[in-house]
Subunit: 329 residues, 2 copies
Amino acid sequence: MNRQVTLAARPEGEPAESDFALVESEVPEPGAGEVLVRAHYLSVDPYQRGRMSEARSYAAPVQLGEVMTAQAVGEVVQSADPRFSPGDTVVGQLGWQEYAVARGSTLRKFDSQPETAALHVLGTTGFTAYFGLFDVGKPLPGETVVVSAAAGAVGQIVGQLAKIAGCRAVGIAGGPEKCAELKERFGFDAAVDYKADGFSAALKEACPDGVDVYFDNVGGGVSAAVVGRLNVGGRIAVCGQISMYNDPTGAPPMPGGFGFLIVFRARAEGFLVTDYLPRFPEAERRLSRWLADGALRYEETITEGIENAPKAFIGLFRGANRGKALVRV
Amino acid sequence: MNRQVTLAARPEGEPAESDFALVESEVPEPGAGEVLVRAHYLSVDPYQRGRMSEARSYAAPVQLGEVMTAQAVGEVVQSADPRFSPGDTVVGQLGWQEYAVARGSTLRKFDSQPETAALHVLGTTGFTAYFGLFDVGKPLPGETVVVSAAAGAVGQIVGQLAKIAGCRAVGIAGGPEKCAELKERFGFDAAVDYKADGFSAALKEACPDGVDVYFDNVGGGVSAAVVGRLNVGGRIAVCGQISMYNDPTGAPPMPGGFGFLIVFRARAEGFLVTDYLPRFPEAERRLSRWLADGALRYEETITEGIENAPKAFIGLFRGANRGKALVRV
């Protein structure tokens, strides 16, 4: 049998475990051009919150009763696509389920170790950091790069890539432990605790030369503080707005609206990693090299059991994870 | 004697006439390299609101008791700069006063007719439209360009430049008269009244192919409606946020913060026309040609008497002007 986590209800505000259902179905058979994959690890990511709402954003919502959309890495069990053989490790949009059938053309073969890296540093979170920082943020050596949700899967990579680019890397994270780890383990020049009193003053102190690139994962009040410290010509790579996903109108308005963009002649630009699909091999090649030579590290927060995927997902909105949040099937 | 309008008090919210004072002083003498100019027309512009507040934005504030900063056009009365002779028409940052002494290097000689054009279509408002639309907005033929405050000095030019660029030009303005004029006199394809019921629906109807470029002069709720209709790859040229100048936190928050930039992979970029100073001759040359061949029209709202400059300025925030608001000295 195939255990699956489906969307049972559309959440109002923060998702609850009751918005999901654990169901069983037959293990499917692959048709021509298709591959049956047994999942080893499932991904939980903030973007999945958008798929739970009825409104279409940049992709269609998950329907009630459908398997939750997610990336997963696993092994090929049966293949009707000549490019894949049983035992191959593959990654794809396989959903929160133990077994998935997918068209071979949507799968990426993954030969590196560990296989979990396919879901983070050598997968879409790593690619998100890579394209968002380099293509959208365009940092120059000596500039200051600030990243929010810095202890998260994307944020940890962004700060390290900023160091590789010769920049000052400043992370924003919740709590002293996360902040200490960013500096000690991941080489950030400074880390600022947004939950602590005096956040704004600490941010100012951490950015003595202002902010040239802001890689924004959170939105809301944290972002309002950062954009006030932009330098002329500053760039904001808008990757996520997790603080607002459960309550889009809950944040206070940005004082003066877009006025700060005029004051600082700044650019705010949103991006989706999937738009960079043709360049994924470039990102994977470079990230692999930095990983191999020790310039890049990663961290995983692994939850055991597919039945706990909803819990792991909900934890993202509470800052429960460090680095990439994964579910071991 | 020289009549001057000075800043008497820092306004809270909307400026009042009591925030200004009409004073008299001696007509100044030009020193070496300086020029004495008698003003014919003074400019009133939304950016002056920012100079009235204590906080520095991109330029230093006007101090209490100082002459209000403003562009003006007038004639040279006395010159200690060999490049200028009495009778020359010049434009510069001369302030709200009848006579001003300025360094010759800060003045631009103006030979076209009428001289008021130096303060609008062939001056910074025209240049703002030109660089904001072409350099920041980067419209392509067939795209839809939306401009807010379309009946204002910058907005009227933006829409006409969009037509010259082969785009669909959609203006947003307050009231049916302004909207009718945009279509009938200035060639906009559509005009939407933001004060009317059903604004959002009318905007949607006016932009059947979505919005590729949004030239934003206003911010607030009008901008929130426009950005919801962006196409993938849309661009926002952030020129002004007049709806928020008197009450920076008064507008409702943008739902989802910067989330729309992600959904539409859009770019919002602020600019200041003064950054384009080296390219002003390029803009003046092209705008002059379009003006001469009838592709470009302008409108002026002229207030008589320097003593009425504050009233003309306050009118900007109430939509009292059409086209460029000027004060005849």
